[in-house]
Structure formats: C-alpha cells, structure tokens
Symmetry: C2
Subunit: 365 residues, 2 copies
C-alpha cells in the first residue's frame, strides 16, 4: 500500500484545534488498514512569524512542495495586526497558493437537511442546496503587479492593485469547472463584470470559446457578479457550478457559505495542474472559515469544515473515493443523529465540544 505524504499546517487560533480532530481520523484510517499516511507538521501564519519572523519558512515551503497534500487550518488574529505587510499571517497562505500553483479552488456549499433551519434563509430556499464554487486562485488582483502604495508630490498617497488575467489562466479554470459540472448537474454559471472590466470581457470570451470547443454538452450561462451575489440570496438552488475569478470567488463563496447555516461546515480544495509525467497534482485543503480568535483555545470550534477538507483530500489527492464517501457519510450521519457544535446548535440546546464532535464522527465510521 502506497504511503501518502501529508503536511499539516494548523496555523493560528482555532486552526490547531480543528487540525487535531483530523489527526485522529488520519490515525483511524491508518489503523484500519484503509490507507497509509505519513504526517509531518509545520508552522504557518502568526505561529510561523513568532517562531521565524516570516509567515511561512523556506523549510515549510519545501515540505509543502514535497507533500502529496497539505492540510491547512487557519491563520491570523489581532496579535499580528501590526506586523509588516509582507509578513502578515495571510501572506503564508497566499505564498502557498501561488508557489504551489494551486489555481483551482473548489468550494462546495451543501446544505445538510438536518441543518436547514440554521440558515438565515427560509428552509424552502436552501433545503438540499448543493452548489460548487470554482474560484481561480493564483491570478487576478491578488497577485497582479504593480501592487503598491506610492507617495505623490503633494504628499497624498496613491494605492494601486492590478487585476490581470491571460487567456491561458481563464482556459484552465474553465476546464476544471466544466469537468466538474459533468459529474454533477451539468451546468456552469460564469460570473464576471464584463460591463465594467476588461478582464470580465476576456473572461466571458474565453469561457464561451472553451465551452464551444470542448464542453458544448454542458449548459453554460453568463451572469454579472453583482447579480450572482444577489441571486445566491434570492434563489440559490438555480446554481450548480459557479466559476469566477479570485476576488469575486472570495466574496461569492462567503455568501454561498452563509446560506448553508454555518461557515463552520465548509471545506475547500485548492488544486494545481496535473503533472503529465506522474499524474499527480499539488493540492492544499482548508476550511473556508478563519482562525476565529474569539473562540480559540476553548474547544468550541466546529471541526467539520476541516474534517470535510480532509475528505476532499482523500477524493482529489489520493483517489480514495470510497474512503471519502465513507467519511462524508459519517458527517451526514452524525448530524442526522443530532451531533451539534455550538455554531449549529439551536439556541438554548446543549452542544458538543470540538473534540466531542471529532469523536462523534469516529463513532459513525
């Protein structure tokens, strides 16, 4: 049995707490002979800054490149509000995304029946919701140059960020979206602002061309990003796969996340291109939620987003489809059996701690 190399980067805040629950599962899968993992750990974010003065060390980057998959917790917190910009906790995550070439960020937003009442939206609008946001993750305004603040002659400052996209960058993310749609409900909604942005004009053109040439069996619609945000609130079930750029994906996936009842539930996968020689791709898996400094250290965090991210790694990095199904099934079953951390428990009811929720998942396996 092949040994899968996992790098665990728990990060800051609740990151280490939710990562610990995944470690229990890694041990369980190894013990039960389903898969063999070799796990390393390293620092990222504020934790790395405190230890090494940078948001991620060169050593940790080397480990990340050598790993079959990175499991990432969360970074940031008020403690690091004043560190220099290039060393802020988020810089560790952005460097991992960029240097590992993780251009495809998959963010499923699934509303579990057992949790539909926890959503802000009316139950009938979100019941059985199953959307996948495919966000471009290594381009756009996140990385384009110039990106700077300059002081002008009159003493004013001017800040510049640059939104950049090439044909190739759009083609490859479009292919990922169409490919995934074929395994789902066969529909892609491409969101941009072609009425205002030239990157939106190119985005729409290239997605249309890729669709016509390679995926004309998939339904395609174009939607303005502002309208898409609104439609996600109005009638989210009209969507199957939404494909968009880095910045729109950041916002639209947070809106989609909130529809499901709790951000504490949402996993994500960030994938690189397949290496034609080995068939392997670099990958990082992380919960959509942040480091939640307000509840850190109290065992109150919901570990399901992190556990769901581990399930995505089984599916997308290790080809362990049955194990992924099993773990996702355990999440569904635990919820159906009433397991709730505080974020998803109805007000006034008892809730599980982070470790108890991890144990509840183990029991369902």
């Amino acid at each position: 049995m092949a040994t899968h190399k996992l790098l665990l980067l728990p990060g800051d805040g609740i990151g280490p707490e939710v990562a610990a629950e995944v470690e229990k599962l890694v041990a369980w899968f190894t013990r039960s002979g389903i898969a063999a993992f070799e796990t390393e750990r390293d620092l990222v974010g504020g934790a790395a800054y405190d230890a090494h003065g940078v948001a991620i060390s060169e050593d940790a980057m080397k480990n990340a490149k050598a790993a079959d998959a990175v499991l990432f917790g969360a970074v940031g917190g008020p403690k690091w509000a004043d560190v220099p910009y290039e060393h802020r906790p988020e810089a560790g995550l952005l460097r991992l995304r960029k240097d590992l070439g993780l251009f495809a960020n998959l963010r499923p937003a699934i509303c579990y029946g057992a949790l539909a009442d926890a959503s802000s939206l009316k139950r009938e609008l979100v019941e059985d919701l199953d959307i996948l946001i495919v966000r471009e993750l290594t381009g756009g305004v996140y990385f384009g140059e110039p990106k700077e603040i300059v002081t002008l002659e009159d003493g004013q400052k001017r800040a510049v960020d640059t939104q950049l996209y090439t044909t190739g960058e759009i083609e490859r993310i479009a292919r990922v979206a169409f490919d995934l749609a074929r395994k789902r409900s066969n529909k892609v909604s491409s969101a941009e602002k072609h009425n205002v942005m030239k990157s939106g004009v190119l985005w729409k053109q290239v997605v249309t061309a890729v669709h016509g040439a390679e995926f004309s069996d998939v339904a395609l619609e174009h939607v303005l990003a502002d309208n898409c945000a609104m439609q996600l609130v109005r009638n989210p079930r009209q969507y199957d796969v939404i494909v968009c750029d880095n910045l729109f994906g950041d916002i639209l996936s947070d809106v989609a996340a909130m529809l499901t009842g709790s951000l504490g539930m949402l996993p994500s996968a960030s994938l690189g291109a397949e290496d034609p020689a080995t068939g392997k791709r670099k990958a990082l898996y992380e919960p959509v939620h942040g480091s939640a400094p307000d509840i850190a250290g109290q065992s109150r965090a919901n570990p399901l987003a992190m556990i769901g991210s581990f399930a995505m790694s089984l599916r997308y990095s290790f080809g362990l489809i049955e194990a992924a199904d099993m773990l996702e099934g355990a999440i569904t079953d635990a919820l159906a059996n009433g397991a709730r951390t505080g974020d998803i428990a109805p007000a006034g009811t008892n809730s599980l701690s982070t470790t108890e929720m991890g144990d509840a998942i183990l029991r369902e396996l």
Copy 2:
C-alpha cells in the same frame, strides 16, 4: 418659488415605464404648488446608441451638467449585446458618474414591515432593517488605467484592469459616510480587503485617520469585504452605514438589496462635491434595479425604486425635506394598504400594474 431643473433620462427596457410614473408625481408637486420643476428629457444607453451611435450624446451631457438633478431610469438589454465596448449602454451611465464627479453613491436598503415576508431571509432577521451603503463611485477598478486587452507574442491575450485610490478620494467618501451616520444610528462599518489589496491598506488607514481627526463621536469598525457580504446574510441589522469602494459597493449593495424582499424597491442617489460658491452639488438619482428586458413594455415593473429615487432628489438636491418625507410616507402607506406590483405580491394574489402603482402613490399624497 425657485424652479428646479430636472433632466429625465429614462433609458432602456423598463426605464421609460418607471420614469413615466415619476413624471406624474412631478406634475402633482408642481400643480399643488409645493415645488416648481422644469423637466427636460433626453436619451441614454441603448436608446441613445440607436439614435446617435453613442451611449450618451454630447448634447445630453451638456443638459446633465446644466440640470439641478438627473433622474436616470435604467440602461441595457440583449439588443445591444454586440455593440462596440465603448458604446455599450452602461458606458452612458459610467460617463455621467465620472464627468459629473458623482463620487458618493447612497444606497439605502430598508425593509418595509409590510414586505418582510417577501425577503428570502427569515422575517426576524430583516424586520425593520435600515442600512445605508455609501459606495465610492468615480474611482477604483471602474476607471483606473491601464484598462485594456493586449495580444501577447504567443497569441495569448492579457486583460488588465487597475484598482486605484488616492488619499483624497478616500477622505471625501469617508466624510460623507460619517456625516450621514450622525443623522442615523451613528455607526460606520468600513469594508475592504486590506489583507490582500494595497488599496485596502490605504483605505483602512485613511478612514481611520478621518475618523480620529473629525468624527471620533461616531462608532467605526473595519470589516473585510468578504466577511461583510457574509454578515449581510447572517445578521444584517448589525449594520448602520457601510462605506466601501466602487466594486465592493456594487456587490454588497446588491446583496443588501435582496434582503429587503425586492430589488424593485430600492432607490439610490449619486452625489458630487458641494460647490463652495453656490452650495449646490451635481446629482443623479436612479433605481438600483436594471432595465429588466424580460418584462419591458408590459407595465409589470415596480416603479417604487424610481419614485423613491425622486424622493431622494427632493431631499438631497432641492432641500424639500417635507416633500421628501411626504412622498416616502406615501410609499409606506400604499404598501401598508396592500398595494403590490407582481415582484412583491405573494404568489397567487392579484397585483397592480406599473401605472396603477403610480396612481396608488398619488392617492396617498
């Protein structure tokens, strides 16, 4: 009595239909001796393109500059999908915003008690919601240069948009937001992405400085734009005034709009700087909704967003505060008395046409 110069730019789709209802009100206010208006009309958007080959003629621009206020309907539609980029219908609106210097876009999102059940969100989350989004409207990625698509040596294309903000641009929109907050619940939430964008770093710095120097009596919080979008769905009533850049404002205001039950309800004001000599400011008023080509020409559109925009012009351009209160009161009363266009009528109930809704407002005056 001073005569107020109004320029009406109905535009495309449902624009002319909702504008016609405002014309009835203009006539009513004039007839009843409350105010005197001199109304001109001109073309914008697709209608201007069909007549003159441009999205707005130089003549119409001259009229707009001479007017005390512009009332704008909506632009665009599938008919103009293939016109050259610089002549697309939206270009007329963007030129008006830019050339009139309308840097402050005010977008109130109010949930009328009578309509709380039309919201996607649970009633208890949106009842009595009253948010004001203050969006910077003449800067950012909408207007920054370079903004182009270039063909590279290998035949690939590369699209560039440029997000630009200066200290001065941020200061003046921050002042508008703080000023308005003082007349409301005295709280400003400033949304940006300082963790990723240099414009976000400058935005946060400048807003903080303006606050400390001139508005320390107003509560200020900073929120990441993605988190803000999520919080708008989770618990919108935590907000009073939200201030943000052009692109985030575009998206956040659409999310906020949807919370209120119908986009057909939402007015907006776009204001320029006060002329120190005359005390006047350029201004344009428009509904947040678009041209809705699917229902154009059927007298099904809800004219309340356009009528509410006219009410905002009474308040912000003409100092007719009582008339504005009266008109806004008429909207509230008409809704309380059951007046509903199709977009806000419960399924299976009768609804009013566009003109009938205009008449219902007249009756309440």
